[in-house]
């Protein structure tokens, strides 16, 4: 078992490499699909409804108990939604810039999948050495890479809005770009304090996500740096264009926002991209502030060997699920901000707070030595 796990994560053989890449993409795509289901279900619960509870294939519905359970839980719904998007007529409006119009959803999704390369979500011990469960072992620039690439997702939005050649998508795209620029600053500054906490002088791997998680085997960063965590959390909401910051979409004033002119599978890709970005944002927060795969503060592992690793991965997955739920929870709690309010919060509230917080931690670490 341990050997297999080791091979699966570390072996340089091409088939193992391909297998882990495909597995990760498969997991994240499925997760994105099912977070749509979670969104619909949780929205329904919050609004006193039931949510999707009828979708079932006759062959599956025929199985007693399991079939009913799958139907009631709406577990076939993502497949049905995806199938619908796939088989709808893929209309190409006459007034769009065709090349960029087709390119935009791809550009929206590609960065979300690319950052998976750096994503560690567990750890295991093999012959006395600790390895991260990740596509790339020991990459020191993990955080920088993830920030750099995941922000590229806004190009998809900008391109979609521009190429659609109509006013609402264009407004949505402009808003999306402005919002991303405004919140990227505060986000970066809030993360710097985590770097300060993680990388002691003379230590390598300062920017590695694995090192960050391991530095939290005692107190989690959310306990030691609550303000940075809060700023980062708000910025994650803004970066993923989720309520209350969903300026590029804001269906009440912009019809459908940047994807007004999109339909069928191209819209589906935008949808998956949005949820992939949510997953990426949540993982970043979990890795940097919520202790990654550590079970509880001051309780890094439960069990030993591969059981411990599995529990770690499960913990990580649980935190991720909670976070995806949290996105929905906040969505139905807070009304959408006005555009000027978004800008004011970004520049005049979050940025100064992040800077002051950073200075305070600088001073603290300088005095403590």
């Amino acid at each position: 078992m341990e050997k297999l796990l080791h091979d699966l994560v570390l072996s340089p053989e091409w088939y193992f490499t391909a297998a882990r890449g495909l597995t990760l993409i498969l997991i994240v795509m499925t997760l994105a699909g099912y977070s749509v289901l979670l969104e619909r279900k949780a929205s329904a619960w919050i609004q006193g409804r039931i949510g999707p509870n009828r979708t079932i294939h006759p062959l599956i519905g025929w199985i007693p108990f399991v079939g009913t359970f799958l139907a009631k839980g709406g577990f076939i719904q993502p497949a049905a939604d995806g199938g619908k998007f796939l088989f709808k007529e893929d209309a190409l409006p006459g007034h769009v810039r065709k090349f960029y119009y087709v390119l935009a959803p791809i550009i929206a999704l590609a960065p979300a999948l690319a950052v998976l390369v750096m994503l560690p979500f567990g750890e295991f011990l093999y012959e006395g050495k600790r390895y991260a469960i990740s596509l790339t072992q020991g990459a020191d620039v993990g955080v920088l890479f993830m920030f750099a690439i995941s922000s590229l997702g806004v190009y998809g939005i900008a391109l979609a809005g521009w190429s659609a050649n109509s006013k609402f998508p264009f407004l949505g795209a402009v808003r999306g770009a402005a919002q991303l620029i405004s919140y990227e600053l505060a986000m970066g500054l809030s993360v710097l304090t985590v770097f300060l906490a993680t990388s002691a002088p003379g230590q390598d791997h300062g920017l590695s996500l694995v090192a960050m998680v391991n530095a939290q085997s005692g107190a989690w960063n959310i306990l030691t740096q609550p303000i940075a965590a809060l700023v980062f959390l708000i910025c994650v909401f803004a970066e993923t264009n989720r309520h209350p910051f969903d300026m590029p979409e804001s269906e009440t004033d912009l019809v459908g926002g940047f994807h007004t002119e999109y339909g069928a599978f191209k819209f589906g890709i935008f949808f998956v991209a949005e949820y992939s970005h949510m997953i990426i944002g949540s993982t970043l927060f979990i890795l940097m502030f919520l202790g990654g795969w550590h079970v509880l503060p001051w309780m890094p592992t439960v069990g030993e060997g591969w059981i411990g690793s599995l529990i770690g991965v499960a913990t990580f997955f649980f935190k991720l699920c909670f976070f995806l739920f949290f996105f929905v929870w906040v969505r139905w709690t807070l009304p959408r901000f006005r555009y000027d309010q978004v800008m004011r919060i970004g520049w005049r509230v979050l940025l100064p707070i992040a800077v002051l917080n950073l200075l305070a931690y600088f001073a603290w670490y300088a005095i403590r030595g």
């Binding site: 619960w45 919050i46 006193g48 039931i50 929870w329 906040v330 709690t333 807070l334």
Partner: protein, 181 residues
């Protein structure tokens, strides 16, 4: 009128950060989430119809199973969308309800026109037409949406009735003919 000035106190720091309000809001949505859902899964679950519900108009029979409508055509006249069409008819001499003066030969309510206002029920002097609890009426053709007399009695059934107006009239008439009083 005295003018009352509402005092607006400045927001406290906690209120200006907006965070306690967000937490309170999160609690509200959470409470809503754990509350059981109010959805009625329609085709399987049916709503309970209140007693005074105005559903599809129907014709009812008296406890003896005889039709109550006497074809006075008041409902036809009062009907705002002119959905009711009555063809009056005689009652044959041998019938058990021969003492009633008239009965409809045909009674049609066009449910494509009916607006469920209940004026027909209100105007009926014989308490023969009632808007009962049926709320779901569908059809595939225009003809099928016109309820004829048979259908109307089928929908209406028999309702309890304490008046027995025509039976009493008959008794009265028989007494007088027999030289009572």
């Amino acid at each position: 009128m005295a003018i009352k000035v509402v005092e607006r106190r400045p927001l406290t720091l906690a209120e200006r950060t907006y965070l306690p309000q967000i937490l309170a809001g999160l609690k509200v949505t959470w409470d809503n989430m754990v509350r059981p859902s109010v959805t009625l899964q329609y085709p399987e679950e049916r709503p309970t119809i209140p007693k005074n519900y105005r559903g599809v108009p129907t014709l009812v029979m008296d406890p003896n199973g005889r039709e109550k409508c006497v074809s006075c055509q008041l409902c036809e006249f009062v009907c705002p969308p002119k959905a009711i069409r009555i063809t009056p008819g005689e009652i044959s001499e041998n019938a058990t309800n021969a003492h009633v003066e008239k009965a409809p030969k045909e009674f049609e309510i066009n449910m494509l026109r009916c607006i469920y206002c209940g004026l027909c029920q209100e105007v009926c002097p014989e308490e023969a037409i009632f808007l009962q609890s049926q709320y779901s009426l569908t059809g595939l053709t225009r003809e099928s949406m016109v309820n004829n007399k048979v259908k109307l009695y089928e929908l209406g059934g028999t309702l309890p009735d304490g008046h027995h107006k025509w039976d009493k009239k008959k008794e009265e008439a028989e007494k007088q003919a027999g030289g009572g009083h």
